[in-house]
């Protein structure tokens, strides 16, 4: 791929928008995963008694089990959210940028 096409894309304001929006979105979702997971790890290390509590009367379900299940579900939902937006909105924008570059190249 020619360097001029790359240079053209670099100067396209839409490219800057794609990169910053998608990048922010990806880091935001990663931050959620990091914060939730490492808070959980800290709770395991420093507050195991809290995780052992049973919030529902007459049920064996502990906060630890709920927190685990919550992470499996929420982290997977986050991947779904990212894939939908990246494969839809971001890829449309991406396609527009590449098309503009190839038109320019002709």
């Amino acid at each position: 791929m020619s360097s001029t096409a790359y240079a053209h894309i670099r100067n396209n304001p839409q490219f800057a928008r794609l990169v910053s929006t998608r990048g922010r979105f990806a880091w935001f979702l990663s931050a959620i995963v990091f914060v939730v997971f490492f808070s959980f790890v800290m709770a395991v290390a420093f507050a195991p008694d809290f995780l052992a509590q049973r919030p529902f009367a007459g049920s064996n379900v502990t906060i630890g089990i709920l927190a685990g299940l919550f992470q499996f579900v929420v982290f997977w939902v986050l991947t779904l959210v990212y894939v939908r937006r990246a494969n839809g909105e971001f890829d449309d924008l991406n396609k527009a940028i590449i098309d503009a570059a190839s038109r320019e190249g002709k």
């Binding site: 880091w27 995963v33 195991p48 982290f75 997977w76 991947t79």
Partner: protein
Amino acid sequence: MMRALTWMRSLALSASLVSVSAFAGDAISQTTKQPINFTAIGMFILFVLMTLGITYWAASRTKSTADFYTAGGGISGAQNGLAIAGDYMSAATLLGLTAMMYTRGVDAYIYMIAFFVGWPVILFLMAERLRNLGKFTFADITAYRLNQGKVRTMAAASSLVVVCFYLVAQMVGAGQLIKLLFGLDYGVALVLVGALMMVYVTFGGMVATTWVQIIKACMLLFGGTTVVLLALSQFDFSFEVLTSRAISVHSLGEKLLAPGSLLADPVTAISLGLGLMFGTAGLPHILMRFFTVTDAKEARKSVLYASGIVAYFFNVVALMGLAAIIIVGQNPEYFEGGAIGGAIIGGGNMVAMHLAKAVGGDILLGFLSAVAFATILAVVAGLALAGASAISHDIYSRVIMKGQASEKAELRMSKIATIGLGIVAVLLGLAFEKMNVAFMVALAFGVAASANFPVLILSMYWKGLTTRGALAGGYIGLFSATALVVLSKSVWVDVFGYAEALFPYTQPALFSMPLAFLSAIVVSNLDSSRDAAAEREAFGDQYVRAQTGLGAATAASH
């Protein structure tokens, strides 16, 4: 007294399990040979015939190097997702984590979350750039704008270290497991695994390896789901009934459902979390899977499917472990000498197999045994392919021949490399038969997180990375991770027999990974050579390609 004894035994057992199943690899502890199991062997032969048929079909589609390394880039997101999940759900997941849940309760569930949490992060930060920049190996990305020869040599060396240690752990695990499940000799089992793996990879390349992995993943999901449904039917599908009964009979009692001592030390917990999260993102056979799909869209979808399947399967395994506490743990049939609470027949890792027999008889036991064998075979094939591509694509084609090798010569070299790796794997498996190889998986993840991951992520995200910086980071990560594992309890005490470990933790990632990042960054910043300036300059074009996929290697047309 009896209770105390049971407790001590479960503690000793779980201590060995923690080290064994701590990582996705399969280091199954020493086992005793069982009588030959004909149902299991019959089902396994069926699996082998089916996969050999696929290999025959795949061989006709494996003509170019692109076909061999990445199935021509024509795998769909859903297929690749299943294959990635297959790579990740090893025999240790099925056997080790079920056994861990059986002895430790919720602690095992925490472990599973740590195994799972790397996937969303790989998707958000890596999947699309990997697909857009890579062609056959992850060294294509790290060497993209850096010195090809030096950086590829480094990346290939650490890939091979990861692959070899992982292979040894798999082979020793395979030998032990097969001895146990099928009643075959350890040596026979190794040669069988090695030979089948060579056939799959040399003839069928990535096409066959992927389909073997997909079939195995489906078998594993089907087997696990069947066992768990049959088991739960004994408790009216009620979590309360299941847990109440498990609590009433388990030596941990109420503590079964609360975090225990497993991750009580925060340094170990964080180091393990980092090692699993970023080690996964540095395993060559996992990274390679991102090059098998058509484009970034499909790469993202593969992670979505893979993480969904892995999350589902971990929860199935957790329920299997809980159900086994009552169904296996209260049945004298499954204990040596019929003493409930004593040693489990075949060792602690057999809990899942006993559960299958208890709820589904010999047929289900045979099926699950065949699945376990298939799992090992598929993972070994994936590893061999990743190792062979590091040898033929990176070292032979790019470093030695400087890109001048013909496609035919490179393809021939990749097949020779596969056969070589197969022989090495069998020999190493024989040499390490009597050793506890759990540390090798720790080493594989540690090296992947410390040598592969930092340089890979920096090369994709940081303009300032230069050849010297990449080499410093890669080699320092490789050596520090290896050294810390050697000085830790698992090698220094368990292998060399010294009284006291020099490095007090089992996972090196918390220390070696930052060290690798730091050295790569510092050395790059100090690098004022002319090459370095050109390398920083080249980041601009690489960045556009990483973000847009423009110029990315596309699927070969068939």
